[in-house]
Symmetry: C2
Subunit: 118 residues, 2 copies
DNA sequence: CTACTAGTTAGAGTTAACTCTAAGTCAACT
DNA sequence: AGTTGACTTAGAGTTAACTCTAACTAGTAG
């Protein structure tokens, strides 16, 4: 599929997709005879995974690191797993923290509701 | 308390605290005779609340809006409550989303654990 | 009196992650 | 042949949220 279709599907602008390629998140995207990019379904999966990592707070630099390890094939499986497990741990902490924040916010709102705030 | 003590207590650099003042998050901080800032316990509470909003993804601009409403006193209670309730709603959504991401990440890691990834 | 410490200001610099601009190419229509 | 539209590139510009620099001052210890 072409840029526009892919951009629509993954909900990232063409600018962002080219940027992701520039910083090494997306590698060897195919080209047609006139030099335009052609994306595959595997590209969709990969970008979706990038988005997931990003949405859970992983910086693009670290996603790039994961991408590079992936490039190196089977010998980096362990390292990639560790990277993801570390991220998983951070995410669990983050969710715990956010739940605490939510509780405190609920309490604050209850003060407003009961008219104890001016 | 002075800059250093306050900075230690709220775990924000002096740079950041001055910046927060500059952008209108912190207002009428007291000064001593030589022009140095003096912070109170109420300042601690307020900065802690700012941090909570920030940590839950509220942009400083919106926190600033809340701060400004607070300045205007009792007549803005309703508006402030609404602002917080909107944020609460976003936060609930965010937590839900993060939990979904976590589940997907768990699944991915399980693929690694069972050797289904190369 | 001098040195040191802890602050002060205005404004410049940094970083991440885009986002856009300008100039150009290529294929398809009219 | 000319126009349109969807791309291409290199590189400049933007935004949020800091972070730092330079030059200065006030209070304290030796």
């Amino acid at each position: 599929m072409n840029m526009r279709e892919f951009s629509d599907k993954v909900e990232l602008s063409a600018y962002t997709l080219r940027y992701y390629e520039k910083v090494g998140l997306l590698k060897h995207v195919q080209r047609n005879t006139s030099g335009h990019r052609i994306y595959s379904n595997r590209d969709i999966d990969w970008v979706d995974f990038i988005k997931r990592l990003k949405d859970t707070g992983m910086p693009l630099k670290e996603i790039q690191k994961y991408a590079s390890l992936r490039e190196l094939g089977a010998q980096t499986v362990k390292e990639r797993q560790e990277l993801l497990e570390k991220h998983q741990e951070n995410l669990v902490k983050h969710i715990r923290q956010q739940n605490e924040h939510l509780k405190a916010l609920d309490a604050k709102i209850n003060l407003y509701k009961s008219g104890e705030v001016s």
